[in-house]
């Protein structure tokens, strides 16, 4: 491993973490959505700063080529992020549905009130 690739790895992890934390700080990302991204950034930083930990973890699980562990964990994290997004979408759809119902019910009430109001105050002339 060259010094350049070492620096490149560490810098990528730091940039990822900084972006996530900045979004969190500006309230552009809620923390329950950021958990997976923070986890991914932290793992990348650890593996970047101490490449030995990656080889050690791979040998414990029994993975011969350590880089495969990186791929496995990355895909796993992306999978969970997608799943969480889908679940969130479903929740939002349910909320939208309830809102739409409430709006429609208000509409009916308004219609009825307007009709009654017109009946009570017939236009003069």
């Amino acid at each position: 491993m060259t010094v350049t690739s070492y620096i490149f790895g560490v810098a990528s992890a730091v940039i990822a973490l900084v972006v996530v934390i900045e979004l969190l700080r500006r309230r552009r990302l809620r923390e329950r959505h950021a958990v997976w991204w923070l986890l991914a950034g932290a793992l990348a930083l650890v593996a970047g700063v101490f490449p030995g930990t990656l080889a050690w973890a791979a040998s414990i699980i029994g993975i011969e080529v350590p880089i495969n562990l990186v791929f496995f964990v990355s895909i796993g994290i992306l999978f969970f992020v997608c799943l969480q997004t889908s679940a969130e979408l479903t929740r939002l759809e349910a909320k939208t549905r309830t809102l739409a119902e409430a709006a429609a019910l208000q509409g009916v009430r308004l219609d009825e009130l307007e009709t009654r109001l017109k009946a009570a105050n017939p236009p003069e002339r």
């Binding site: 549905r97 739409a100 119902e101 709006a103 429609a104 019910l105 509409g107 009916v108 219609d111 009825e112």
Partner: protein
């Protein structure tokens, strides 16, 4: 003015028994024993789940009488004045007046308030006729049209014909529209909610059959037996229907043949359940709602109704589409059984 109207209404009430109503009564008497037997056996199985009460015993003693005589005079009265007033608004006012008189003169049987909900998505061509037909057959019943994000004149046509219209801002599907209907029913004190398709395939006059069966059940499905000849299906779509009918019959503890019928009536307990938990997914309004109802302990019944030819659109016979339908139906069924079982909310019944 109102005195005159009342006199007329009462006079009309005296000479009951029009030929077609007599015929319908006869038909109902034929059906009644079967319904009673089923209901009794269900009572043994599901002890304490029924809405026991004077009304249901009344229905058993006088089969065919309950509901069918309701508002008889008003109906003829309405027919007479309809020639004079074709204006929808005037008609609505008169209907409400007649309905009030009906209640005052003690002609209506039972204190049940019934709401008819029509989910409508771009149905401007047929919905006016359906509403008018319903108003003719049952002037005392409130009609709510749920506009499911239509882009045509459905709302205007429905309003012009005197229906209450609830407009959803975008399309939610039949399930979404129906939950809104149940919510409206619950909030406005309706005991019974009936779903009728806006395309005119259901005959509003069958409402009586479905409603009288509701005395013995929480959920009544109007099944399309009569049109079976024209409704022949083969291949995967048929398998899907058989699988659905078998599975749902078992969990509903009664024989269901037409599980995807859009003609169904819900009693007070089912209305409360559905106002909370009516699913909006694909096939949720037919399959999953039945599963939810049966798992909550609702008593489900099926009664035969006539089905008229649909004005547009027939069930697809394309094999790939039919196979997809089978797959999605099984998926919907599986998910419905995996989901949580909701209890019937009895507490809110008291309030």
């Amino acid at each position: 003015m109102s005195d005159v109207v009342e006199d007329e209404a009462e006079k009309e009430a005296g000479d009951g028994g029009e030929p077609q109503w007599g015929a319908r009564d006869g038909m109902k008497q034929k059906d009644q024993p079967e319904i009673d037997n089923e209901a009794d056996s269900a009572n043994d199985e599901v002890t304490g789940c029924r809405m026991g009460g004077e009304r249901s015993t009344h229905a058993r003693q006088f089969p065919g009488l309950v509901g069918s005589r309701r508002g008889l005079g008003t109906r003829r009265f309405m027919r007479a004045i309809q020639d004079r007033f074709s204006n929808g608004y005037t008609l609505l006012r008169l209907q409400k007046l007649a309905c009030r008189l009906d209640r005052l003169s003690g002609m209506s049987i039972g204190e049940n308030r019934t709401l008819v909900v029509m989910p409508a998505y771009n149905e401007e061509a047929s919905i006016g006729e359906v509403i008018r037909e319903l108003a003719m057959a049952h002037p005392e019943i409130t009609c709510l049209v749920v506009d499911d994000g239509s882009s045509d004149a459905t709302v205007d046509v429905a309003k012009a014909n005197g229906a209450i219209v609830a407009s959803l801002p975008f399309n939610l599907g039949v399930g979404g529209a129906m939950r809104l209907g149940y919510k409206y029913g619950l909030e406005n004190g309706f005991d019974r909610v009936v779903q009728i398709d806006a395309d005119g395939q259901h005959d509003p006059r069958d409402l009586e059959i479905v409603l009288s069966a509701l005395d013995e059940a929480d959920l009544v499905i109007g099944a399309r037996f009569a049109g079976e000849g024209t409704y022949a299906v083969r291949g995967p779509r048929r398998w899907a229907m058989v699988v659905l009918a078998r599975t749902l019959s078992r969990s509903a503890r009664t024989r269901l043949t037409d599980t995807t019928s859009g003609f169904r009536a819900a009693g007070p307990r089912a209305v409360r359940l559905f106002a909370e938990h009516y699913p909006a997914e694909y096939l949720g309004d037919t399959i999953e709602s039945l599963v939810i109802a049966s798992r909550a302990g609702c008593v489900i019944r099926q009664v035969p109704v006539t089905m008229r030819a649909r004005s547009g659109g027939v069930a697809s016979h394309h094999p790939v589409k039919a196979a997809l339908y089978l797959f999605r139906a099984c998926l919907a069924l599986g998910i419905a059984y995996l989901g949580p079982a909701y209890p019937l909310n009895e507490a809110r019944a008291a309030s």
